[in-house]
């Protein structure tokens, strides 16, 4: 029995009273997944990422969302937000907080949305992320049950961030979940969506999430993906974005946890004036493996993209960055910038980076750059002349390296949490106990 087939066995365990079209879509996903199988290193898109740990794993679907408040508090962020919580993929009404939603905003778990309004949701879901994108999206289509559906009416400025938590428990046996996230941002609306993947120590589950974000004319969406799962968790995600005229999408892909994390981020800039910004930060250690694949399709003239991904790698961690910008024929007056910088803290860490440009129009300004190296010795020296010892100087500079991305973060709660996490992950030799104080002192001075 193939690995793909073993996964699809789970299909029969669920899905009873679904509308026929949902069942049909599931079958299509299953058929596609079975045909594709799990990707191997022979697939260009998976050249550096080995998914055998997923393919050979045994995962079951969770049935309950039991997680007491104390355990949840240890995982989630105390954000003042509209909150949706999923535990191993199952919706937890108890932990969610959807009271006082502003007019014109609807935030629901997928099952509820499908029950009450499946015509409106059904057409949108899967429109950007079909079964052909990757074997994992096909698998998701086959097995997905739950997820978050966010709909924002025209002109609505959502008062608080929309905070979606995917908690991964330390279960006796490994679980898997295939959640969907759907964000439909109406014309001129403004919102912030946070996808937070958090896990208990020892959790070894597999999450395979597909997100779709649709921005109508003039919409503004800030999207955060914060990955803080345990060092055993397996995580595959794809985020698909479609932008209308004059819309603005800003992505923060902040990756700290997980044993194996793969994120695909794809944006289609379909009309003039659309702008997309990708900010990424990953800090991996131990034997963590993180793979970020980003793609921007400039399908219309006068569109803009800007990407900045930074990676810090320690121990035997491995990082992969593949950023691609495609400028379609006749998409003139394009500006596209892409940058990837990596800092290797150990001599056994490895980074594989490939910033690609594919350009079919001439009136464009496109550039990309990728650097890999160590801390600037001159900068270390400059700090030492100011009386800061070497270890601390290195710690500060590493934080500053991450800071270039973190400075763009507009939610203070997240910025602080990630900065602390980064500082907490720095090697012992960086003498951290005093780092924060010194940093504060420098800031005041």
């Amino acid at each position: 029995m193939s690995a793909a087939h073993a996964f699809l066995q789970r299909l029969g365990e669920r899905a009873d009273d679904e509308p026929t079209w949902v069942a049909a879509r599931r079958q299509a996903g299953a058929a596609r997944f079975e045909a594709l199988g799990f990707p191997t290193k022979r697939d260009e898109a998976w050249k550096y990422t080995d998914v055998r740990r997923i393919a050979e794993g045994e995962f079951t679907l969770a049935d309950d969302a039991e997680l007491d408040e104390a355990r949840f508090a240890a995982l989630g962020m105390p954000l003042d937000a509209h909150r949706l919580v999923f535990v191993d993929g199952v919706f937890s009404a108890a932990l969610s907080d959807l009271t006082d939603l502003p007019d014109g905003v609807s935030i629901e778990p997928l099952t509820t949305a499908m029950r009450t309004n499946h015509e409106a949701i059904g057409g949108a879901i899967g429109r950007l992320a079909g079964v052909d994108f990757s074997p994992f999206t096909a698998l998701n289509v086959a097995l997905s049950e739950e997820g978050a559906v966010v709909r924002i009416g025209p002109g609505v400025v959502v008062d608080k961030p929309i905070y979606v938590v995917f908690a991964s428990r330390a279960n006796e046996s490994a679980r898997m979940s295939h959640p969907r996230v759907l964000v439909m941002a109406g014309a001129r609306s403004q919102s912030t969506v946070v996808e937070h993947y958090a896990g208990e120590a020892g959790a070894a589950n597999f999450t395979n999430v597909v997100s779709e974000v649709m921005l109508e004319r003039g919409a503004i969406v800030d999207h955060y993906k914060l990955q803080e799962a345990s060092s055993e968790d397996l995580h595959v995600a794809s985020i698909h974005v479609e932008q209308g005229r004059d819309s603005r999408f800003t992505s923060f892909n902040l990756n700290l946890g997980g044993a194996l994390v793969r994120t695909d981020l794809v944006t289609d800039l379909n009309a003039q004036g659309a702008e997309t910004n990708y900010n990424g930060l990953f800090f991996v250690q131990g034997r963590q493996h993180v793979d970020n694949h980003t793609l921007v399709n400039h399908n219309a003239p006068n569109t803009f993209s800007n990407e900045n991904y930074k990676g810090i790698l320690n121990d035997r961690a491995r990082g992969v960055f593949n950023g691609k910008v495609v400028v379609k024929r006749d998409s003139q007056q394009i500006e596209a910038y892409q940058n990837n910088a990596n800092l290797l803290l150990s001599d056994r860490a490895e980074i594989d980076t490939k910033p690609e440009l594919e350009i079919y129009a001439d009136d464009v300004k496109c550039s990309h750059g990728a650097t890999t190296g160590q801390l600037d010795e001159d900068a270390v020296f400059a700090l030492r002349t100011r009386g800061i010892d070497e270890q601390m100087a290195r710690g500060l500079l590493t934080l500053a390296f991450a800071g270039e991305v973190m400075d763009q973060v507009r939610l203070p709660g997240i910025a602080e949490r990630v900065e602390r996490a980064v500082a907490g992950k720095l090697p012992e030799r960086f003498n951290l106990s005093d780092l924060v104080e010194v940093s504060d002192a420098l800031e005041e001075a």
Binding site: R329, I351, D352, P355, D362, S367, H368, A370, T372
Partner: protein
């Protein structure tokens, strides 16, 4: 610029297109073990060489054409190609330029490269490969005096079998890739250079490859070995007559640099790119690789690629020796319907290895070009250093320029930088030139030549001049 004038420029024919009628000794099209035996026999090769070829052929049979390149071309029928063609009367080949067939000399005249004049003026020894067999070699004595061996690969196989056996296939093994395997099986000629220990080659070596007889693929094999503390600069230049059927060219170049050796390999490639519909151009699938085997050795590739319908070429460096250096300087110009997928690989294995990659791509018309490169730093390559810059210039809105740079860094003491830009010729730059009475076409040529300056200055003097002229010819009519 008036559109009519543009049309005229665009439709200008390949000025170097002509066919010299020399009777060829050609085998019928087709490839099997007997073809290979025929070639080997014709060349008077020893038994081991035939075995080596057959081994390559058997590997080739199990392989499939690579499809990863950003290229689009109809499948090649390898049975429709004739694998051997040599000027007639093999045994009484001309010994000096005076004896060379005047028609051949005429060919060179048309190309604007009068061989005798050039050889004399520039002090360059020319091993001219004309349809797969060395026609003439000059300055042999001077080279012999220095102890440098410079001859055709066939001659080397006969005269210096130990050297060839030691190094042939040691950089590009028979089964390295589809085209290298094909080449290993059927190569008919090419050059062999051996520079002994401590010798600085007294002159620049150059070979002019010409493709002439219809339907003959060219399968050159070049092997350059530079012993300890030796130095050599090798120039390779190509132009080809115009014709309608696609010609396949699958060359293999192997460079070996031992301790403190220095090899500089420069190429100007101007094969027929096909007509305005892309018909009839040369298919150029080349494997070029240099092995910096010794400590402190250096290999430098410089290429100016203006011709061919399809270019598939990645001159690479294996930086094995401690503190060895690899360089790659490239200008690729595509116009019409040309497609180029080119770049380099720098494999850092030894400590303190350094590499530089400068790639300039210019796409015009309906052409497509891609830079594809790999910088790999192994765990033992302490303090390895790479700098990569690849810039693309787009002229016109129907062309494409792409960059696919791979970086695989497995060492924290390595510093690797890559930057790339894509843009078009600035309106303000053009306006500035035109305001000073420079025609639009001249202005574009000036700007493009400036864009390529970093690479041109790496070329030997006379090559740089030729390269600039070539660039202007290739871009004729691309202004708009």
């Amino acid at each position: 610029m008036a559109s009519q004038e543009m049309e005229e420029l665009v439709s200008r024919e390949y000025t170097q297109g002509f066919v010299t009628d020399i009777e060829s000794d050609t085998v019928p099209p087709g490839l099997d073990e007997s073809t290979i035996a025929f070639i080997s026999n014709k060349k008077g090769e020893p038994e081991w060489m035939l075995e080596w070829r057959l081994e390559a052929y058997r590997q080739w049979l199990t392989m499939t054409t690579p499809s990863w390149a950003h290229l689009d071309y109809p499948p090649i029928d390898y049975q429709a190609i004739s694998y051997y063609s040599a000027p007639k009367k093999d045994e009484d080949r001309p010994q000096s330029l005076d004896e060379v067939d005047p028609k051949l000399l005429e060919t060179y005249e048309k190309l604007g490269i009068p061989l005798h004049e050039r050889a004399a003026l520039a002090g360059v020894a020319v091993d001219a490969v004309f349809d797969s067999v060395s026609v003439t070699t000059t300055f042999k004595d001077k080279l012999a005096e220095a102890g440098v061996i410079f001859c055709s690969i066939s001659e080397a196989i006969r005269e210096y079998p130990e050297l060839v056996r030691q190094y042939l296939g040691s950089v590009v093994p028979q089964g390295d890739n589809y085209f290298a395997a094909l080449n290993s099986a059927v190569f008919t000629d090419g050059s062999f250079v051996y520079v002994p220990e401590g010798v600085e080659c007294p002159m620049e070596l150059s070979t002019y490859f010409r493709i002439n007889a219809a339907n003959t693929g060219q399968f050159e094999r070049t092997l350059i070995v530079c012993d300890k503390r030796a130095q050599v600069s090798y120039l390779e230049g190509c132009t080809a007559p115009q014709r309608d059927e696609n010609q396949l060219h699958a060359a293999v170049v192997e460079l070996v640099a031992l301790e403190d050796a220095n090899i500089k390999y420069s190429t100007v490639q101007n094969w027929y790119p096909g007509d305005e519909n892309g018909k009839g151009g040369i298919y150029n699938f080349v494997t070029k690789r240099g092995d910096c085997r010794g400590d402190r050795s250096k290999i430098s590739w410089t290429q100016v690629e203006t011709g061919s319908a399809i270019t598939w070429k990645y001159p690479s460096c294996m930086l094995r020796g401690k503190d060895s250096v690899g360089e790659f300087y490239s200008v690729a110009v595509t116009n019409g319907r040309q497609q180029a997928d080119t770049g380099t690989k720098m494999i850092h294995i030894g400590e303190g290895t350094r590499s530089t990659i400068i790639s300039k791509g210019i796409a015009a018309g309906r052409s497509d070009q891609a830079y594809r490169g790999l910088v790999k730093v192994g765990p033992r390559a302490k303090n390895a250093r790479n700098f990569t810059q690849c810039d693309s210039l787009l002229i016109g809105d129907r062309c494409g320029a792409h960059t696919f740079p791979y970086q695989e860094i497995g060492n924290n003491s390595a510093t690797v930088e890559h930057e790339a830009t894509t843009s078009k010729i600035g309106e303000d730059q053009l306006f500035y030139c035109k305001a000073r009475g420079i025609s639009e076409e001249d202005a574009v040529n000036m700007i493009v030549n400036g864009f390529c300056k970093d690479v041109f200055q790496e070329l030997p003097m006379e090559f740089a001049v030729e390269a600039e002229a070539l660039l202007n010819v290739t871009l004729e009519g691309a202004v708009g």
